[in-house]
Point group: C2
Chain length 256, copies 2
């Protein structure tokens, strides 16, 4: 029984082109650096217009499979092995969700030297400090500190702060789309204060996540550190397959 007329029949031409080439790359028939058939050649091969062919190639380019050099052709790209998609939310990780928080402090302070540097502000610019404890099932699981350069309309109302993640805190003053975020993740032993907050009596390490937020112009608009009890924090990341989601719709149709 031939596959012909099965899945690929009702697949739009541009997807068919993209899938065919992708398969050749995945199978190793096309290797990094190799040239793809020219767009005109693909037009003839698939009896398609050039716009349709280019749409298929654009898909592959977006997914990182190929790149193009004007005047020369399309080529298979070297795969990026070191890039993953990490899912991080200070309230919710791979093994744990925060169900209660406790506000330790909300304050407006003048920044110390480290903060001035880190937030790139002047020494008389006021800063909001928010210190919280996160709980799961009654147990403290993380100690969290955030610093935000004070602007009018900033959240200093307790209700607004309690369950807000960092991006949510700044959402009132900037569109979330316009925010650039950075994470630095490391581990260390807790100091005495943190041990007390997190009920740590034995040798238990911390997972530390530093988060920095920048606006569209690259100016820092907030920084925070979350100290997780090591036994309550697992992070999950995966290599991204931006691809093939589009095709599922058609595959499902074909299966029925």
């Amino acid at each position: 029984m031939m596959e012909y007329g099965g899945i690929n029949m009702r697949l739009p031409i541009y997807l068919r082109i993209a899938e065919d080439i992708k398969e050749k790359i995945n199978k190793g028939e096309l290797k990094p650096g190799d040239a793809i058939y020219s767009e005109n050649a693909l037009c003839r091969a698939y009896k398609a217009s050039r716009m349709t062919v280019r749409r298929g190639l654009a898909l592959l380019a977006n997914e990182g499979y190929i790149y193009s050099i004007p005047g020369k052709g399309n080529f298979v790209r070297e795969p990026d092995n070191d890039t993953y998609t990490l899912y991080y939310n200070e309230m919710k990780n791979f093994i744990n969700s925060v169900d209660k928080t406790k506000l330790l402090e909300v304050n407006i302070i003048l920044p110390n030297y480290k903060l001035i540097n880190s937030l790139q502000i002047t020494r008389n610019r006021k800063v909001i400090v928010i210190r919280r404890l996160f709980f799961t099932g009654g147990e403290p699981v993380a100690y969290d500190v955030k610093y935000l350069p004070y602007c009018k309309g900033m959240p200093i109302v307790e209700k607004e702060i309690r369950y807000a993640t960092f991006p949510e805190m700044v959402a009132k003053s900037t569109s979330l789309f316009a925010i650039k975020k950075e994470l630095i993740i490391y581990t260390q032993m807790p100091d005495e204060e943190t041990k007390k907050y997190l009920n740590i009596y034995n040798e238990l390490p911390l997972m530390v996540v530093e988060q920095k937020l920048y606006n569209r112009e690259g100016k820092p608009i907030g920084m925070g550190i979350t100290y997780f009890r090591g036994d309550y924090c697992k992070l999950y990341a995966e290599s991204y397959f931006s691809d093939s989601k589009i095709c599922e719709k058609y595959k499902n149709e074909a299966e029925t």
Copy 2:
């Protein structure tokens, strides 16, 4: 001095359309859930053909700014706040690069119960074990164990293994494009054996990274655990801006 005729003049129409809408979203003029002008309306507004307008919208869709519902329109998407791009390479992290490795063991074994489960193999399928130490400036910084279901052509030659990262190890049997990778990141205290390997005499936690590799069909083709000395491992992640790289070319031209 007006900006008119500056940057945007030589910008391709589809990019101009995309940038204009993106700016409206970033400024908050368009909020998540809001409808964009219809494609035909944009055609009239920009005196452009529909294919050109759709190309601009496709850009925004790829960058996660908008989505479309056939028969209804294009809408601003809710931004994804919990997704980051993580850069991970067992030999090279934010603060440290491995400059020497030591092979502790290369062996072919029969899997124990945990491996059978984790690699989804039968009990008589042989498995390659590779145990290594990573060094920086003469100091041991990580203890690394990998398991690969044995296939013909697998790397059991010492030279091939010494400096290979996990993806590189399986690259001979599968195209790197076709590999799906998963990471689980957590922290724990070292056991006695690991302490010895990593020269740990005081209270120093480990950063542990479990890595699993899958082929295109979802079958596991390898798993590994890397135990980093906590003081030699920082991971870095950032929110992705898939956007605006395309525009830089034009911006640079405009500046000169």
